[in-house]
Symmetry: C2
């Protein structure tokens, strides 16, 4: 939970005067998200989300993120839509930070995942991929293969503080990934961070996606690999093949999964697992235990990684 940048009522009233959304009647910092400061803002015309971008977001990437969200809204994908001021700009500054205002997205992220959620997720991700297909901008995935070696170098010396033998296991794994990472899969804009807290539901219906701040141009199937890791394991860390099947078949109803994508899925899933393992491990080793940010357990992804190493083929993900 986090509000890093405090905004005064006077500053806010001046900021909102740049928009055609009525007068502010309330704003409250939201205790969610660890990257940016978010406020829930009410005006006499509606409810909005105000985001102030903190240090982890590169301001140079913001036009990609905001234009993508606007493009998706235009394609009928439910997601926060950037609101433009009277000057036509969606991106401005507040409290010394880049800031943008968004439509409010109804829905709640599911704390307890069931297979129906996974089916809706698969369909939704496929629609997201199709809707982004004609988006003109691109952005490399800064947290894909090329980043893992320097991340591992940064944590290897202390990785065994977290678990004995971890540095060695990750080194071997990374050598495998570097040798076998796919190169010729269908590319497109992906969300790249499709954890349950970024996907809203209203009852059984997927009501939208949030938090596009890792979105990038990469293999479309990499989003599925993230979803396998983020949605298809039980809390006891065992793989739930039913959830995986529902997620992947949901996706296939909207966009075909190519043979090449299917064959690459275990490797992509291992890559996605090491990506979250390495960034969490880095944060774990570099965040004091009593700091204001909740540290996420990196070892959860070690067990997921090990599972994907055992996968023999699509059948292990529930596909025929």
């Amino acid at each position: 939970m986090a509000v890093y940048t405090e905004v005064s009522d006077d500053e806010l009233v001046l900021f909102i005067a740049e928009y055609d959304i009525g007068a502010v009647v309330s704003y409250k910092g939201i205790a969610e998200g660890v990257e940016n400061s978010n406020y829930l803002l009410k005006t006499d015309q509606g409810t909005f989300i105000l985001t102030l971008y903190e240090k982890r977001v590169d301001p140079a990437d913001l036009p990609f993120f905001l234009n993508l969200m606007e493009h998706l809204a235009g394609q009928g994908i439910a997601a926060p839509t950037p609101i433009k001021g009277r000057d036509g700009n969606a991106l401005r500054r507040l409290g010394g930070r880049p800031a943008a205002l968004f439509t409010f997205l109804d829905g709640m992220w599911p704390r307890r995942i069931n297979p129906d959620h996974c089916a809706a997720l698969g369909e939704g991700v496929a629609r997201l991929h199709l809707a982004a297909a004609d988006f003109a901008m691109s952005r490399p995935n800064a947290l894909s293969l090329a980043s893992w070696r320097p991340l591992l170098d940064a944590v290897a010396g202390r990785a065994d503080e977290v678990k004995a033998g971890l540095a060695r296991e990750l080194t071997t794994e990374l050598e495998d990934l570097e040798a076998a990472w796919p190169t010729d899969l269908p590319l497109g804009v992906i969300h790249a961070d499709l954890f349950p807290d970024n996907v809203f539901f209203l009852g059984p219906r997927l009501s939208g996606f949030i938090d596009f701040y890792f979105a990038c141009t990469d293999f479309l199937a990499y989003d599925l690999a993230v979803c396998l890791n983020a949605w298809c394991f039980e809390s006891q860390r065992t793989f739930n093949v039913t959830k995986a099947r529902r997620m992947l078949t949901g996706y296939r109803r909207v966009r075909a999964i190519t043979d090449g994508e299917l064959a690459a899925l275990p490797m992509l899933a291992r890559g996605s697992a090491i990506r979250f393992l390495l960034t969490r491990l880095y944060d774990w080793l570099n965040t004091p235990p009593d700091a204001m940010v909740t540290r996420k357990d990196p070892l959860e992804f070690l067990e997921k990684l090990r599972f994907h190493r055992t996968v023999k083929g699509p059948g292990d993900y529930g596909l025929d």
Copy 2:
């Protein structure tokens, strides 16, 4: 900022089903308040605040607080109003905690206080006092005179870590307060924590009061003493007599200040200053510097206390 108790979407949907307020479409933890967990909740019928009471609130006090808020709402005082479930109860449990649902109060607390705010505050506090006059319940002020000696005993041994000579100065001050604390002033229900973040405005208009969880039965003029300390000093800690005059004359427009209250005001203001000084000092000495809660500077109130010791009469507070 704080959300101490996490609530799942499933739990919340069950909880809200006890009320006649429509279906949940969103809820977000609010990064405000250090005592309780607060969620901003949207249903298809409106916006609400959901509060989960954490350890610092005695559950035995909750009927007083909730009934007081309901009483005030009935008297036309703008404040969060507890919402009753279909069973007639406003107080129930959620996430293992006592919990209650409230109407949403529009407004923003003023970060930069001007004299007009103080005038509106004075009027509003007087209206609050009059509206509470026929409230049937009572609750002793657990943080008045009788509590300061044990609080001082708990911090005296380490007070000089914060400032040399502090323990001795507070001991002398407390002896003065114990000898001269008034006994025969008009009593009633007071808010007792009227800091700017508990008073909302829409433009120049006071739109309501929040956070009644220190409300109690005590001298009405003690609320004015709190307001003098919380609203009428500049950030450089100098007393602003204009703000005090506007606040007190605003109050007098609605409820007369008795001669006894006027005469006691400096002593009450010293008491209010030592109350916040002692609780902040206790928290300061017992909260790790890097904990999740922002520690508030106790010494701010030492300077305020010293000012009130120099007050010769009502003229020093801007009154004729």
